[in-house]
Amino acid sequence: MPWIEADESVPLTLSVNGVSHHLDVDARVTLLDALREHLQLTGTKKGCDHGQCGACTVLVNGRRINSCLSLAVMHRADEITTIEGLGTPDALHPLQAAFVETDGFQCGYCTSGQICSAIGMLDEWRAGWPSHAGAGAGPARTIDAAEIRERMSGNLCRCAAYPRIVEAITRYAAGEGAEA
């Protein structure tokens, strides 16, 4: 990649939720700000801009990342999924529906991040990524609350919907197992 000055405008194609977007962005623009400010996909939230809250979690090629810690120009070749790509108010993704059912949120500001993070987290579980709560692997339905709490601890919720978020993820994971 050639050297780019901080203030230089960089042409860029981002693939978000299956749609290609052509952008010209300041090289300093984070993936989070590209989504929010440039594409006006504001479902992804900014809580800290420092990788400390998880509100900005999106899926990049299926893996969860903090989009505030990543520059937009680093994602030319990637497929990005945001909360808007999972479901709509009229056609919610089953995990989104589980959050509504269990009241897994209050103000809703951390919620997009919690949901995207949970989807990435369950993939990590299936793939056998270890955690402090004890190593594990297997179908989503085999995950327990302690694992969910540990693996979701990068997603803060000041409203403290935690117990109900865990319940939403547990319900979703169980349902997913049943379908598989």
């Binding site: 006006q40 900014k46 949120f105 209050q106």
Partner: protein, 748 residues
């Protein structure tokens, strides 16, 4: 102009809510705004993009006290895309809920605390504005400030204002000194609580748009109309010339009550540049430049006779605040009424420090006051060799112990008893430091909870359109509390339409003004205004039907009486619109209104490392009618977790040389995370409070935070035998006092 007013002058013999044949109120209803929130389509303040939008970044003071002597912006202004550096003396320094409508001009040169706003840099992109702000050179003359409250405790003076009589500065009865000397059991100690941060997940953000001389602000405020009036004063406008929109607020907890610096900066910059400006605070700015819960030094002295009856309740609080500010942390609030006892003294004093503005934070006073009081009660129970529940039962007052007025409803005893059952208190550990499970010391603790039920004037408009659809409109906000859903439920039940046919619009200052979200009063006040409007609508529908209102049933979209059944839509003509309002009245002074609860928890402390874990939790609350079990439970859980954070992890650390907030981010200011929180069992007792309001409901939102931290602290003591009175209880404070590892008994 209001069509129907309800004033709280006398108890309500009945509530129309109880006449609904299939009520939604009282059940668990999913949030009607839920699908928008979980799909990312609910728009928060920063998520508006008017044409020509520019971006502002706050410039802030690099010293804790002194004077700004120069600002060199030459390099910054030469940077590409940079539009202006604005240093306007109206940039608000101390905002917040108690700044009053006057919103004083504080200037941008005198520095009262580290990080105060001294300007705003505006550019055509956020990146450019941020880079420019970083390259502005500020020169200053630092002055000696007061940064350490403990060191300056000798300078404490009584607060200057009792906040409409709500925050009693000093009350006294009997003779506490003499009685304390004659006591059979005595606790006399000091509890300290640090500054804390609201840390709502959504940072403060404002998008200011001027059009035809009128200012519209997309912003994140709990009580937009209060912020509007402050902003209008700052800008020299009439309130009607300012409109604030806060339909979604990403958490508040008191930190978004009054106007904050970003709103004023956006409004001034937008006017100056003639284009819309967005100012979003960085997380660091939220920590350093909005507000905090003040720190406290609380002396509590409790004395009891041999029968376990309290003879002395004394609670003296020293707290800190910026000079000239009226708000203080009223830590003694619950001490006035929680327990009986003849000799009482509650006092508050303030040290004036050069530290970030102190503001209301979730249950101001009560949250941290009950940390001290309820820990002291635990110590007293131990001194008396009494079960801590029994001690509370023996000191249950018949009437308000200081004022002699009756309680509107008070179910503390039931909360204690039910909580004890649910938790299994009878089989708790009784030997501090004596129960071990593997590597973990296990402890059990409890505490009582009380939160005053406040009431303020509120208005709401309810419309029924020609198709029978219902629209509720009020300036009230939903900060995660469930307002959208609760107001829809009340209207649906009273007008007899399905919940899906009710729409609720919130957070627009052009709609009827409410009391806002704060002080746990939002649902009761705005809900009562909706009630008033719906009662009037029922009367009008009855008139249209030509029948007395009390003979009608409203259900399934139909208005029914014997021999009469018509769809509501057929009775409204072109539509009906009614504005309802509620006013506090004599019931608010003739009765003490308080919500109650009891917390029980198990804490595990690692026998070797001192790591602290909350393992199990039960809370029981009595708060009048619970309007929505789903959202009320979430509020209660949220409050409990706030209390756990305050007990174990949360501390805003100030640099003693400058007052600067050292841990100004979410990596260093530790709010509880998923792994810190076990399942939280919340149970609401059936209760109706006929005095409080026509809903017969009391406040819920802050009740959970009251007393919960004390339950944790008491459980930590029970697990380890270490009393930590200096919050938060971090492992370094228990480590030295842990029992010898080999001595602890193993769990059978």
């Amino acid at each position: 102009m209001t069509d129907a007013t309800v004033k709280m002058d006398a108890p309500f013999p009945a509530s129309l809510l109880d006449s609904a044949p299939a009520p939604t109120v009282g059940t668990a209803q999913p949030r009607i705004d839920g699908p928008r929130k979980v799909s990312g389509t609910a728009r928060y303040a920063a998520e508006h993009f008017p044409e020509g939008l520019a971006h502002g970044v706050l410039l802030r003071a690099p010293i804790g006290c002194g004077r700004i002597t120069g600002v060199d912006a030459e390099a910054a202004l030469a940077m590409p895309g940079v539009l202006a550096l604005i240093r306007d003396e109206r940039l608000i320094r101390n905002g917040g809920d108690f700044a009053g409508a006057a919103a004083p001009v504080q200037g941008v040169d005198e520095v009262a605390y580290f990080g105060q706003p001294i300007g705003v840099v505006v550019a055509d992109s956020p990146e450019r504005a941020r880079a420019a702000a970083l390259s502005v050179k500020v020169t200053y003359e630092a002055a000696p400030g007061v940064f350490d409250m403990e060191a300056a405790r000798g300078t404490a003076l009584p607060p200057t204002d009792d906040i409409y009589g709500l925050f009693l500065i000093h009350t006294e009865q009997g003779d506490v000194d003499r009685t304390a000397h004659e006591a059979a059991a005595l606790v006399d100690a000091v509890w300290r609580t640090p500054s804390q941060s609201h840390a709502a997940m959504e940072p403060h953000a404002s998008v200011a748009v001027w059009q035809d001389g009128r200012l519209t602000l997309h912003a994140s405020y709990q009580s937009p109309v209060v912020t509007r009036d402050q902003l209008a004063t700052v800008m020299g406008l009439q309130p009607s010339e300012v409109r604030i929109l806060s339909p979604f607020v990403g958490g508040g907890f008191g930190g978004k009550l009054g106007v904050m610096p970003e709103a004023v900066a956006a409004a001034i910059a937008a006017r100056h540049l003639g284009r819309p400006v967005k100012v979003v605070m960085t997380r660091q700015q939220v920590f350093e430049t909005t507000g905090r819960r003040p720190m406290t030094h609380q002396r509590v002295r409790l004395a009891a006779d041999a029968a376990g009856r309290l003879t002395v309740l004394q609670h003296e609080t020293i707290t800190d605040q910026l000079a000239g500010e009226v708000f203080f942390e009223p830590a003694g609030l619950a001490t006035h009424l929680l327990y009986a006892g003849e000799n009482r003294l509650v006092d508050h004093k303030v040290v004036r420090t050069n530290k970030l503005l102190g503001v209301s934070m979730r249950a101001p006073g009560e949250a941290i006051g009950q940390l001290a009081l309820e820990c002291a009660m635990d110590e007293l129970a131990e001194a008396l060799d009494l079960d801590p529940i029994e001690l509370r039962l023996r000191n249950e007052p018949e009437r308000h112990p200081e004022l002699g007025i009756p309680f509107s409803s008070r179910a503390l005893v039931d909360c204690l008893r039910h909580g004890a059952d649910r938790f299994g208190w009878a089989s708790r550990n009784r030997v501090p430091g004596g129960l071990r499970d593997g590597e973990w010391l296990v402890g059990h603790g409890m505490a009582a909870a009380a939160r005053g039920n406040l009431f303020g004037p509120s208005r709401a408009r309810v419309r029924i359109d020609a198709g029978g659809r219902v629209m509720v409109e009020t300036e009230m906000t939903d900060i995660g509390t469930g307002t959208y859903t609760v107001l829809a439920q009340i209207a649906a039940d009273l007008l007899g339409v399905p919940l899906a046919r009710v729409e609720v619009r919130l957070g627009d200052t052009d709609d009827p003004a409410s009391a806002g979200s704060g002080g746990s009063w939002g649902a009761a006040t705005s809900g009562s205004a909706v009630y008033a409007a719906c009662a009037e609508l029922r009367a009008r529908l009855a008139a249209a039907a030509g029948l007395p209102a009390d003979t009608l049933t409203f259900a399934d979209g139909m208005v029914t009486a014997s021999g009469f059944r018509r769809p509501i839509a057929e009775l409204v003509g072109d539509g009906l619109s009614v504005e309802g309002s509620v006013q506090p009245g004599e019931s608010n002074s003739r009765f003490n209104q308080t919500s109650y609860g009891a917390h029980f928890c198990e804490v595990r402390v690692h026998a070797v490392t001192g790591e602290l874990r909350v393992a199990r939790w039960n809370s029981v609350f009595a708060a009048g009618r619970i309007l929505n079990r789903q959202t009320a439970t979430s509020q209660a859980i949220g409050g409990v977790v706030f209390g756990i954070g305050g007990a174990l992890t949360e501390e805003l650390v100030h640099d003693p040389r400058s007052g600067k907030v050292v841990n100004r981010d979410l990596g260093e200011y530790h709010v509880p995370v998923h792994a810190d929180i076990p399942p939280i069992d919340v149970h609401f007792l059936e209760e109706r409070d006929p005095v409080a309001n026509p809903l017969l409901a009391k406040g819920v939102g802050e009740l959970g935070v009251c007393g919960s931290g004390a339950a944790v602290a008491n459980a930590v003591y029970n697990a380890t035998g270490v009393r930590v009175r200096d919050f938060p209880i971090t492992l370094d404070k228990v480590l030295a006092g842990l029992p010898p590892v080999s001595a602890a008994r193993r769990r059978a």
